[in-house]
């Protein structure tokens, strides 16, 4: 039975192989790939309950990765190469979240970045944070004093965060694939980086670089909120929203042990919000184009994604705010929390810019439906995260307990 635990990591590889085959682009090929992704997700759910002693923390994050991948596979994506890369990236991401060895995790993240980048330009911008993370890893491995370990951890945390930012920005701005695929790649890397951050916090409670995490969190959040307010291109808007969600996840890390479960909850909500937003905004170039959306389901999905991303009540994400803020306040970061509240307000105003345009009666309507997968996810997320978040909180708590 233990071999079943490898399923979630291997099945995306098989799906990627099918996609790269000559018939991978056909309707049948896409159907089989969607089925394999769904089986991988189902297997993860079964592993949670079967008493195999699986790492529940890894399984939770694995489910997040597979959920994003399945949604991307079911969306009408035309670029098969991107889908192939997404599946290979998913395997690497699952390795990064499942392993209990930091070197494997960091290597998988850097390799993920190398694999999903479509352009070979500005290699130095990508390599610098990756190398910083590896240097940090080396310092931590050979540290003989607490100071060296602290510097190593700072390099590691900052390097991984910067790596995510560089890769996300490049992937989201690439023009060959659909927005859902691009956002899924960005989110899967975010899951892997968050797993590394959470494990660093758990494994090095004394020398965890909380000052760096705080600066990164507030910086990322501020950049994201201001970016969402001023963005004119959709890709810039999505990058800004993703950045602010990454900021929230970093803020949750400040909450220590009590902040782990809210952090996982916020991660799941981020995935749902970002993917819904991407699904609704697919094939739009500028923020002004949003006023031409004709389909009501698409506008509803857009509203749900945009408002959930900034934790506006009662959308998914709102209920996670309370345990998260309590955990962070308990560690004495009250001023940072107030700053976060202000930035959340700015983010809400930035998101509302888009939602208000979508529902404005003016504008030329173009009928373009949102994918069925996105609609199903929107309904499921609303039901699960808004109406019964208690169950998800219990799952996140069980996952957080297994972090060591």
């Amino acid at each position: 039975m233990r071999i079943a635990a490898f399923g979630p990591a291997i099945l995306p590889l098989i799906a990627g192989w099918i996609l790269s085959s000559p018939r991978g682009a056909s309707k049948w090929g896409r159907g089989i790939v969607g089925g394999i992704d769904a089986v991988a997700l189902l297997l993860t759910a079964i592993l949670w309950n079967n008493g195999l002693g699986s790492d529940r923390f890894g399984l939770f994050l694995c489910a997040c990765v597979l959920g994003a991948m399945t949604l991307a596979a079911l969306s009408p994506e035309e670029d098969i190469q991107s889908l192939c890369r997404l599946h290979l990236g998913a395997s690497l991401s699952i390795v990064a979240v499942s392993t209990r060895e930091l070197p494997w995790s960091v290597l998988a993240i850097v390799l993920f970045g190398v694999l999903v980048r479509e352009t070979r330009e500005r290699l130095l911008v990508f390599l610098a944070p990756g190398l910083a993370a590896l240097a940090g890893l080396l310092l931590v491995a050979r540290a003989d004093t607490a100071d060296t370990e602290g510097i190593g951890l700072i390099l590691l945390v900052a390097g991984l965060s910067a790596c995510w930012l560089v890769v996300s920005r490049e992937v989201l701005r690439s023009s060959t694939s659909g927005l859902v695929t691009r956002m899924a790649v960005s989110f899967m890397l975010l899951v892997a980086v968050s797993a590394a951050h959470l494990r660093i916090g758990a494994w090095f409670p004394q020398s965890a670089p909380l000052g760096t995490v705080q600066a990164l969190a507030l910086g990322a959040f501020a950049l994201g909120a201001l970016g969402a307010l001023g963005a004119t291109r959709i890709t810039t808007f999505l990058t800004a929203i993703a950045l602010s969600r990454a900021g929230i996840l970093l803020v949750a890390q400040l909450g220590g042990v009590a902040g782990r479960a809210p952090s996982l909850l916020a991660l799941a909500v981020s995935g749902v919000s970002l993917l819904l937003l991407a699904a609704a905004l697919d094939k739009t170039d500028t923020v002004d184009d949003v006023s031409n959306l004709g389909s009501t389901p698409r506008k509803l999905v857009l509203s749900l994604g945009a408002l959930s991303a900034c934790s506006v009540p009662p959308f998914p994400g709102y209920f996670a705010v309370f345990p998260l803020s309590s955990a962070v306040a308990a560690q004495g970061y009250s001023v940072s929390l107030l700053a976060v509240a202000g930035l959340l307000f700015l983010l809400a105003v930035g998101s509302m810019r888009l939602v208000a345009r979508a529902w404005d009666p003016g504008g030329t309507r173009t009928e373009a439906e949102v994918g069925l997968a996105a609609l199903a996810l929107a309904i499921a997320a609303t039901l699960f995260l808004s109406i019964a978040p208690g169950r998800l909180v219990e799952i996140a708590r069980a996952a957080a307990l297994a972090i060591l």
Binding site: S303, P313, S326, F345, A348, M352, V355, A356, G362, G390
Partner: protein, 366 residues
């Protein structure tokens, strides 16, 4: 949701039962105030959604649930406005109030966790939280700031005129008669029982008196000064040190809603409107009894603020009576249930008394 320390319980007391009745009646009036062919499917859905949110807001027993309904109402009313510019302006000010309210309740949730070991935002438990006096003052200030944005009080009113002037009668009726309760309801249920009698009360009283003065001195005929002035009157009543003043403030919440609903039946009426300008007098009459008690109680604690507020009120009343055109016969019929509800509310003053003021009376009866 025991995992989060939150509950879905809905509760109702004497005061909220009247407001629940009013919201139910208001939804009916809003649907009847326009012909069904004029009120599209989208607008009908939004009115019903807003009604659900307002009913949830009135009955929520948990602060987090209260804010969830508040957010739902905020979204429903944002979409009711329809046009992007109005939606953005309304959302900007109301979301600022909602953010402050979320911060306020998040702090209470945390305090409950620290003091009892269990996180909770149950509204009934908020008064039992123990805090230092200076912290009490800061919390009150935070709650007051949320109310100033949400109510809204002067000078946080720029969204009102543009939003209400473009709306059709049913939507305007629901926005002014329903949503105007939300901000002060947060004040009554979450802030006042927990963090009262602090320096922040003086700040809020001054803001409320200024709102009344603004309502009296504003030169343009618009909804912004009227709404801010009436909200100022309600807030002054709620901040009153006596139970009678608080009851007048609570009654003022309902009478503000009734009065604004009456007035909102005018705008965009047919050009050949006929009939007496009786409606404007009725609208003024609706909030005058509560005004008298509020100003009388305020005079005992702060004569300057009472004089300022009284002057503003007088000027506002004269402006309302002078500037309103007569109402069409069709709309006059809709006035009757509002008037009936007002008389009903006058007959049940006990329901507006705060719970702690009712308790000794019950003991005496026993």
């Amino acid at each position: 949701m025991p995992a989060l320390g939150l509950s879905y319980d809905l509760r109702i007391d004497g005061f909220t039962s009247i407001l629940v009745l009013w919201i139910a009646l208001l939804a009916l009036l809003a649907l009847l105030s326009a012909a069904s062919r004029d009120l599209g499917r989208r607008d009908t859905c939004l009115i019903l959604l807003a009604e659900t949110a307002l009913l949830g807001l009135l009955t929520a027993g948990d602060g987090v649930l209260f804010l969830a309904f508040y957010g739902a109402g905020l979204m429903a009313f944002t979409f009711i406005l329809g046009r992007a510019e109005e939606m953005k302006a309304f959302f900007l000010f109301q979301a600022a109030g909602a953010t402050l309210a979320v911060v306020y309740l998040a702090i209470c949730y945390y305090l409950s966790w620290v003091q009892t070991g269990f996180p909770s935002a149950e509204i009934a438990r908020l008064p039992s939280l123990v805090t230092y006096p200076d912290f009490q003052s800061r919390m009150f200030f935070l709650g007051a700031a949320a109310v100033a944005f949400a109510a809204p009080l002067f000078p946080l009113t720029p969204w009102i005129s543009s939003a209400t002037s473009t709306l059709a009668a049913p939507m305007r009726l629901f926005l002014l008669g329903g949503w105007s309760l939300a901000g002060t309801l947060f004040f009554v249920r979450a802030v006042l029982p927990s963090h009262f009698r602090s320096e922040g009360a003086l700040f809020l009283s001054a803001l409320a008196a200024l709102s009344l003065l603004y309502a009296g001195l504003a030169s343009r005929r618009s909804w912004a000064p009227l709404l801010a002035g009436l909200q100022g009157l309600v807030v002054l009543g709620l901040l009153s040190p006596s139970a009678e003043g608080v009851a007048a403030g609570r009654a003022g919440m309902l009478q503000l809603a009734l009065s604004l609903s009456t007035l909102s039946l005018w705008k965009a009426d047919s050009e050949n409107a006929r009939g007496p300008a009786l409606g404007s007098v009725l609208a003024v009459l609706m909030f005058l009894p509560a005004s008298w008690i509020v100003l009388r109680e305020l005079w005992t604690t702060s004569p300057v603020l009472a004089a300022l507020a009284g002057l503003g009120l007088l000027l506002m009343v004269s402006r309302v009576v002078r500037t309103l055109p007569p109402l069409s016969p069709r709309r006059s019929v809709l006035l009757l249930p509002i008037l009936g509800f007002w008389i009903l509310s006058l007959l049940a003053p006990f329901r507006f008394l705060p719970e702690d003021a009712k308790a000794p009376a019950t003991t005496e009866e026993e």
